[in-house]
Amino acid sequence: MDITRLKNIIEGALLAAARPLDISHIEQLFEEDACPSRDDIRAALEEVAVDCAGRGFELKKVSSGYRFQVRQELSQWVNRLWEEKPQKYSRAMLETLALIAYRQPITRGDIEEIRGVSVSSQIIKTLHEREWIRVVGHRDVPGRPSLYATTKQFLDYFNLASLEELPTLGELRDLEDIDPELSLDIDQPQQGTEEQAAEADMDEDQIDHSELPTQQQQEHNPDRHNDV
């Protein structure tokens, strides 16, 4: 078998496999009597690697074999493939934030008491990551729960010079009077299942991005099973 054909087969298999292939996997692509030697395969792999010079991907040897991977320096562009449109925060998240803003310093227990349901750790985590809340102390009760307050970043985001500028609920009523339609689309979540929906929203937030490629890879070969 000439080297070009061998290189093409290796390239094709590595690109189709969507997983690393080692030398023995590559050997299995051939009929027994037509199998190139291991040295030939190694030589072909080396040439395949060289051929990637200057391209958007490279041949890498990882523990389970060889694979093509997209060059890391392209990540700022390529990763935008998975960038999602920001989702709306759940009702649970907004209520928690509102309570922290208007009732700070406040513990998670206080929030749960007012909301009547538990507050997921993910909500607190997300608000922390967004740097909208911080821990300003701990209440001196068993468990020493954290006391949450809002941050300067929170004020900046909402264009407030201080918490004093937070509108009152009275002002909210005025807003509703002015534009009743506006409030409608915020009220979207159905009353009955609000809590579940809110929790469910948060579950989605927890999805690990790194799981996505696996799902995509499964799409490669949708046809391997069930004869129709």
Partner: protein
């Protein structure tokens, strides 16, 4: 996918021979011998039946086997062969789809119309075969189209989508936007639920006290004792001093800070209870 059933090789070269076809069921007799041009190993019959996609497919097969054009089919001959198949299948107790019987009736009708004395003025479009031929052609072109589609290079069989490991993820998810109104609505909602909703509960004064409470806690964070007086800033004026005082009172009430005075009229120190 083969479109020609297995019997093709065996039967193709032989011209149909009417005399040798005393097919038993037609004459109400038990089957003793299968017709020559129709010989099928009985175990293969089921396979064959499955190989046909219905009566049109079976008819097409019969026509092709005779090497004639669809437009020139001899209805009598095709009907005879078709009926032979149907009878055979019935004799073998295969359950026939209703469509096969319907086609048998249609063929019989065409055959009888063909037998009617031909009138001089008869038009071509009155050819009793016209509808059958149209359907056969129509079916045949889609049968061919299905084979053509099957021959198209297909993902997972002839070609494979190329993929490579993506670069490490270092992108952060964009944050959702939140409007002040959403926040207020959420607050009003939760207050409603808590049955604590009264507009005057959340007011300017209270908020400034709350904010000051946070500030005081911040000041106390990590400190042992902070002089009480150092919490006040004179230039804030009376309102500021009162706010701070209220904030400290509120913090005491909520057991968040403690006040320590080591001696009468000595300096008062404030300490976060959790510090």
């Amino acid at each position: 996918m083969t479109d020609t059933p297995v019997i093709d090789n065996e039967s193709h070269p032989q011209p149909p021979s009417q005399e040798e076809m005393p097919f038993a069921m037609i004459y109400g007799e038990a089957v003793t011998e299968l017709p020559k041009d129709l010989y099928i190993p009985p175990e293969a019959l089921e396979v064959i039946l499955e190989a046909f996609e219905g009566p049109l497919d079976l008819l097409l097969y019969l026509i092709k086997r005779q090497n004639i054009d669809i437009l020139e089919i001899n209805v009598a001959e095709i009907t005879r062969q078709y009926m032979a198949y149907i009878e055979l299948m019935e004799a073998m107790h295969f359950e026939l789809a209703a469509e096969y019987l319907l086609m048998a009736a249609m063929l019989a009708e065409i055959k009888s119309r063909m037998l009617l004395p031909r009138q001089e003025e008869i038009e071509d479009e009155d050819d009793p075969r016209a509808e059958l031929i149209r359907r056969l052609q129509e079916y045949e072109r889609f049968k061919q189209a299905a084979e053509d589609i099957d021959d198209l290079p297909r993902v997972g069989r002839d070609t494979f989508i190329a993929s490579a490991k993506e670069p490490d993820r270092n992108c952060e998810r964009p944050h959702p936007d939140v409007s002040m109104q959403e926040l207020l609505l959420a607050l009003s909602e939760v207050m409603h639920r808590a049955e604590m909703f009264e507009s005057h509960q959340v007011q300017r004064e209270l908020l400034s006290t709350r904010e000051r409470m946070t500030e005081v806690l911040e000041r106390l964070k990590g400190q042992q004792f902070v002089p009480f007086v150092s919490l006040f800033t004179a230039h804030e004026g009376k309102v500021g001093v009162v706010t701070t005082f209220l904030a400290v009172m509120e913090l005491i009430k909520e057991s968040l800070v403690e006040i320590v005075q080591s001696e009468m009229f000595g300096p008062i120190h404030v300490k976060a209870r959790s510090a």
